[in-house]
């Protein structure tokens, strides 16, 4: 067999030597942006799922009210909640449980129980339940002045808005990276065409179609983007694994843990593939459009 060499010496182009590095950087940033967006959405959904179908009722003791009166208010409030359609379970937290919750900040001791701590009632509702919160608040206020209902709606809405905003920004970053990738490939391809104008002319003169010339650029773009993509993939993978390990070592907190699931790994693999497709298609379109203006 004849040892086939590319009819265009694109591999020696100075102009395209930076492309694998640029591709690696873009794949790295795109992978982090995409996986960050996916992880945040997952976390927001997990958080939302944890708090959906729950209510917290707070009974804030008025000044000078005795502990047994508060206990009585909690019992009445719990009775109203249990009688409310859609409520699945009602779990009042006694003073000991409330003090235990505050132990990390206030410490252990009899004085804590002397403080006017708000009493909490943990309420679970059926998923499809539509509670009339203002009406329920009024009913609870009648038996326990100072009762507050927190359905976590404000907090969940803020969390969702934050997640959506970050997701939108991430998609914007991805779009921007794709545009930079396209611009870089257009520049490199046009430079390659200009550098090898004489060779392209000879190829045309011996009967090469534009598609034949475009394929040479496509293969070159595919190879460069593959090299850059693999490098970016390795770097992004290493970063994500490091984040995963750091996340595992952190003590459980209010923040959701960063977790690498199959959507993240799939996205990680998809980014360099998308980069290769963008590079190849861009090279082809650029060559075909540029050559269409030639004789």
């Amino acid at each position: 067999m004849i040892r086939r060499r590319s009819a265009l010496p694109l591999a020696t182009d100075e102009a395209s030597r930076f492309l694998p590095w640029l591709t690696a950087l873009m794949v790295y940033l795109a992978a982090l942006a995409l996986i960050g967006a996916i992880s945040l959405r997952d976390a927001a959904q997990r958080w939302g799922g944890q708090f959906a179908g729950t209510l917290t009722v707070q009974i804030v003791p008025a000044e000078g009210v005795k502990l047994h009166v508060i206990d009585e208010q909690v019992k009445k409030a719990a009775a109203i909640l249990e009688a409310t359609p859609g409520v699945v379970s009602v779990k009042p937290l006694d003073i000991d449980a409330t003090a235990a919750l505050l132990e990390p900040w206030l410490g252990r001791g009899p004085l804590v129980r002397e403080l006017p701590l708000p009493r909490l009632i943990d309420v679970r509702t059926a998923p499809e339940a539509k509670l009339d919160i203002p009406l329920l608040a009024k009913q609870l206020g009648d038996v326990a002045p100072g009762a507050l209902i927190d359905d976590h709606g404000d907090w969940l809405r803020s969390l969702t808005a934050l997640a959506q905003a970050i997701e939108t920004i991430s998609l914007g970053v991805l779009l921007f990276i794709a545009m930079v990738a396209i611009a870089a490939m257009v520049f490199a391809t046009r430079t390659g065409l200009a550098l090898h104008h004489d060779v392209v002319s000879v190829l045309h003169m011996v009967g090469a179609r534009d598609g034949y010339i475009a394929r040479q650029f496509e293969r070159h773009a595919l190879w460069l983007s593959f090299k850059g993509g693999v490098l970016g993939l390795v770097l992004a993978g290493a970063t994500l694994i490091a984040l995963d390990r750091i996340g595992a070592e952190l003590a459980p907190s209010l923040l959701p843990r960063f977790e690498l699931g199959w959507p993240q790994w799939l996205a990680l693999l998809a980014v360099p593939v998308a980069g290769m497709v963008i590079a190849t298609v861009t090279a082809r379109v650029t060559v075909m459009r540029t050559l269409a203006k030639a004789l």
Binding site: M1, I2, R3, R4, R5, A7, P9, T12, D198, V199, S201, V202, L203, H204, M205, V206, G207, A208, R209, Y212, A292, L295
Partner: protein, 233 residues
């Protein structure tokens, strides 16, 4: 539509100028019949190369009509140009060999762009390179070849796909007389099997050894000076 009776090349009142410069060709009209063998002579700068470039579709005329194989070049869709070009073999004055490719790869180029299978391409290329005396330089890169060797590679590339029209711009400029005659015999052999040949040359002595019509380009006008084939107006 193309037919056997149509000229391979037809120029009708063709004018050519570069930018705002003087006309290189001035109302040039001629027809090259199928199977003809033409020599084109003229002083340096007379426009021989420009005339040939119009024939191998490297230029478009400023005015007038150029037809190749019965197709008006001006109205030919761009996508059909490669098919026309594959029927034309060109020996460029400065060879236009691809420096990064070996002799073998350079000569195989027209076959590859035409999609000829590699084994068949190798067979043809090897045979032709042996014929032009370059069997031992198949792997050599153009910059390691002498001027004469490069010229033979350029000629081999032009004739490898047995073109219907062979256009050569000073094809013997860098070879000795013996090789020049040998190469022209190759062109004659191709001509005998139906290839139309147009050769631009300075070499009057070489032209006089062959009994083919000779046309002189002077002042942008092509006039016939001898031979027996073709016609020019």
């Amino acid at each position: 539509m193309e037919s056997d009776n149509q000229p391979i090349v037809r120029f009708e009142n063709v004018g050519l100028r570069y930018g705002v410069g003087p006309e290189i060709l001035n109302d040039t009209s001629f027809a090259i019949e199928r199977g003809a063998f033409w020599f084109v002579m003229g002083e340096s700068g007379a426009g021989k190369s420009s005339l040939l470039k119009l024939m191998y579709l490297a230029l478009r005329p400023t005015r007038g009509h150029v037809s190749l194989f019965g197709h008006d070049v001006a109205t030919l869709p761009r996508r059909e140009l490669p098919a026309i070009r594959r029927r034309i073999g060109v020996v460029f004055q400065d060879f236009h060999l691809l420096d990064h490719l070996s002799t073998l790869d350079n000569v195989a180029l027209p076959l590859r762009v035409a999609g000829v299978p590699e084994t068949q391409a190798r067979e043809h290329v090897t045979e032709l390179l042996r014929w032009v005396g370059l069997a031992d330089r198949m792997d050599a890169k153009p910059h390691t070849l002498s001027g004469g060797e490069q010229q033979r590679v350029a000629i081999a590339r032009a004739v490898i796909n047995r073109p219907s029209l062979l256009i050569a711009d000073e094809p013997t400029g860098n070879v000795d007389d013996r090789m020049a005659v040998r190469l022209l015999y190759l062109f004659e052999e191709l001509n005998k099997i139906g290839t139309t040949v147009v050769i631009a040359t300075h070499n009057q002595a070489l032209v006089s050894r062959f009994d083919h019509p000779c046309y002189v380009l002077k002042g942008g006008v092509l006039t016939r000076t001898g031979g027996r084939e073709g016609e020019a107006a």
